[in-house]
Amino acid sequence: MTDFTAPDAVVETIESVQQELGRWTGKSIPRKEDRRLLKGQGQFVDDAWMFRQGYVHFLRSPHGHANIRSIDTTKAEAVPGVYATMTGAEMAEQCEPFFRIAPDPAARIEEYPLALKARFQGDAVAVVLAETRELARDAAELIEVDYEPLPAVVDAVRAADPRSPVLHEEIGSNLAWHGIYDYGDIDWALENADHVVRIDRLHFHRFSSTPLECQGALVNWDPGTDQIEILSNIQFPMFATQVLGPSLGVGQDQLLWRYQDSGGAFGNKIAMYPQIAALALISRKAGRPAKWTEYRSEHMLSCGMGNERTFLDIEVPVMRDGTILGFRMRAFDDAGAYLHYEPLGAVIWSQVVPGCYRFKHVNVDYTETLTNKCPTVPNRGYSRLQHLWMIERLVDTVAHELEFDPVQLRKLNYVQPEDYPYETPNGCIYDSGDLPLTLDKALALIDYPSARERQRSVASSGAGKRIGIGIGSTLDSGTNNFGQARIINPDLPFSGNGEAATVRLDLYGEIFCTLGSSPTGQGHETTAAQVVADILGASPADVRVHAGFNKEHGAYVGFSGTYASQFAVTGINAAIGAARLLRAEIATVAAAALQCEGADIQLEAGVASYRGDGERAIPLIGIANLVYANNAELPPEVADGVSLNCRYVYRPPFQVPDPVTKRGNLTLTYAVQIHACVIELDEQTGQVRILDYGAVDDCGNRINPQIVEGQVHGATGLGVGAALYEAFNYSEAGQLLNASFYDYHAVTALDVPAIKTDHLESPSPFTPNGAKGMGEGGGAPLATICSAIQDALGPGAELVSDSHNPPERVWRLLRSTGARGVEVQTR
């Protein structure tokens, strides 16, 4: 049994922190970062420029799978204005293979910055550095690559077949990872259930959030200092830096990372380290800064895509009253051609093993395979949304097949408000929430009774239309415990989590905050300013928060970055901690100056006073002066004990999970999303139109409700896109058929419906500020829209078994008379 009660010290801190966050925290103040962005004054990666820089073009394989017999760069190098070219072989001689997360056999994969064999369409095989963008691309066209095309494998299940083409000969198969997650007693449950619902296959499709700004980096390997300056919109620099140091043979002190603004990331920009390594090496070779700005089609082909997952042989034991006991299944996850962040996805999903439900018996035989497709990267809702979608499909199917009301069935099986903190079968602790109430609020947003009424009247109108009502209930697990990586590979030296921040009082009394996060639109400058202002008795306008990320500020730990829905917990509590340290130092200095005790110092509106007495007060500029420039006036014991530059590392209370039993608390917080929608389905064409959409979010205490709501809207927009429009499809030969925004239909303002929102605030008992991370969302729109389509199809229809439902797929479902993909066995 995991001990999930918080230690006394933690509880005490939580109570005191929450008392201090009253004035600005929780208010929808307009964002501080907007002004520059609205004026076109943001600094994005392509806006960066260095003296003597050259432009990089990556030559990418057109083949899905091919040996490279030879590469001839002679003609490219002869082009005037070309500074350098490099091939995979040349780079491999100059660096070590990248660090691998996977255990054997996939640990034997040796990956270098450029490919030595093309394993997916878009695999980079050579690179050119030239005077202009145009020249770099022109020259790349002149590189002659002799490819020997090979048969491809583009299906994760087929890739596991020993007869399939093998991508990485050194491991002898396409296996990225395999393991069995077994909790409770599924055999007992299946034997003793009143019904067993069996689903043949569910398929969660490939898509990604395709941030509007593509990837990019400007890298300068300075020959004088031997330091590598990296200006890049990479989303998780502190992960990349740990990969690149050993690979390039440089120390962490040589790797300087920074950027200001990033045009969205959603997880997709996490795995840019191969490109950055290539830029570093060609920069060293040419003795020039190397700048690369990814093209959109290049992004579509090679940046990374979300996890595609196939669920097979799903068995669901159900009791007569509707209690669902759990499930058994086989899952095949598609890693694509390389393991850039994978196979972490093979454990990340288990943060939400039972979804929102009290399932006790779960058995998942999980396989991740390598295929001739673009490598998988985290994508908003990383690895959990696939699993949560599967669970919602399963719950809906139980309701349809056994004729339970989908609302009542959910409410019966949900984790109940009184169950919190609730321990899941694998030892995760759901912190707080009220799922039935959240569902009720979602149904109220779409006026559920009248939607049902409308469904009946449209059905009987003979207009060739049908109404469907869908529900999706998901969780956004935030602040992960990196110890879960050991469930993938017990040898990995990672556990826990954390984030750093600094808050300092500058020379003339200014408040300056730096963060370890790497924001990509989440408003960190604003929310950090809100909490720091509260602690220091200031206004958010008085708190300058550094924009973007800069490793040189020293506000980082190994986990620093923006990912996994954690800033509201890790980043904000680091800022709170640093601000409290600074407040204590200010109080110490003020007490010395005002001849009183530190406990009597009040901080308000830029002035430290003795119990609020305006006559006995010192402004912040006076405090700063005493420490920075006038320290002989301070008693030595005070002067020696303060710096006014306070760094704090927030560390969530985690233990190391058990890799053998695969149990442990894998994340700190669980935000809840329940969505409901009404769709209209055209019987003739299969087109789906969303008539009404409601989203309810519960992420505990909200630091800035408007920003939270913005995240809900955004996650909903992307989810609607994925459910109806957005997919990456490959031909059997490994050709991507949606390699631009022509054929990858990124949703527009006309496609996304008006989104109604509501919220609950169930504070997390485990975080000092009661907040939960919520930025990723749980992919609720995918579950909700599939649920609505199934509802519109009506009783006896084929199962909606794919998460992507463009018109033709729905049209086929409407006409299906064959196998339904589901059967029920009743005892």
Binding site: Q684, Y725, S740, D751, P807, E808, W811
Partner: protein, 286 residues
């Protein structure tokens, strides 16, 4: 994103444009550029000379005739069509189609002539121009010639406009009481069409004449003559339309792509045919 090297010229008149087109073996007309520039960016095709006709005033006009016909200069933009009160009055469906083209930016730059000459199977204007019985005026060094829209479209990016020639203008004949219908099945709002149909009906209770033209189901717009034959002479009714449209499948060769199979496109051709005909019939009675 980056084009191959190319030359550019901006002539002031159609005559100069034609001279420029004849000056280079691989010259191409640049009108709105909303398709061509993207193709050049992807380097799947290249040319030596781009002849920019977008600012030739002589190619930008909407002239309504006394008889209800309209002459439209080839470099007229969708936005100009959308906002033309003359066109709204004489050929409202054409203005409507222009108004639903892609997005505001494309409407501000993209031209009806470019749309016609590009002849992407999913484009909206080619089937509409054929259904309306438009006349395409082509200019060359040998002088002007006129081609029926029906004979204008060959294959994607291939039309009756030959090397060294220029599409000058398009004449829409008067509707003269005919009903016009247009229906599309789109992947998403104002997005790729999976099937399109345009119908023009002349009737006085009985169908005197009808044109039904399908898009997205072949290399160029296809006249569904089998459907037309079934309707011509029939009493115009929803029932007659329903009975006739299954014949729309005849002779179609749609492609399969990542968005829809040929089978689906074929079936949707029937659906849009029916919807376009019904809309034309409604327009007629209105």
């Amino acid at each position: 994103m980056l084009l191959r090297a190319v030359e550019y010229v901006r002539p002031d008149s159609p005559v100069e444009a034609i001279a420029a087109l004849r000056s280079s073996r691989h010259a191409r007309v640049l009108a709105g550029g909303q398709s061509l520039v993207n193709v050049l960016k992807h380097r799947v095709a290249a040319c030596e000379l781009l002849v920019d006709i977008s600012r030739i005033d002589e190619l930008r006009f909407i002239d309504a005739g006394q008889d209800g016909s309209v002459r439209i200069g080839a470099a007229t933009t969708y936005d100009e069509l959308d906002r033309s009160s003359q066109l709204r009055a004489s050929h409202p469906r054409v203005a409507e189609v222009a108004s639903g083209t892609v997005d505001q930016q494309v409407r501000c730059r993209g031209t009806i002539g470019g749309n016609a000459c590009y002849n992407d199977p999913a484009s909206n204007f080619p089937p509409l121009l054929v259904a309306l019985g438009a006349t395409m005026r082509i200019e060359s060094a040998d002088g002007p010639r006129e081609v029926d829209a029906e004979d204008f479209f060959f294959a994607p990016f291939e039309t009756a406009v030959g090397t060294g020639e220029l599409l000058h203008s398009i004449v829409l004949p008067p509707l003269s009481g005919r009903g016009v219908g247009h229906s599309s099945i789109l992947l998403a709002q104002d997005s790729w069409a999976l099937a399109r149909a345009c119908a023009v009906i002349e009737a006085n209770g009985v169908v005197q004449d009808v044109r039904l033209v399908l898009g997205c189901v072949g290399p160029a717009p296809v006249r569904a003559r089998a459907v037309e034959d079934r309707l011509r002479g029939a009493q115009l009714s929803a029932g007659a339309i329903e009975a006739a449209v299954p014949a729309a499948r005849e002779g179609l060769t749609p492609v399969s792509d990542v968005h829809a199979s040929a089978e689906y496109r074929l079936e949707m051709a029937v659906v849009v045919a029916q919807r376009a005909l019904l809309q034309a019939a409604e327009h007629l009675s209105a």
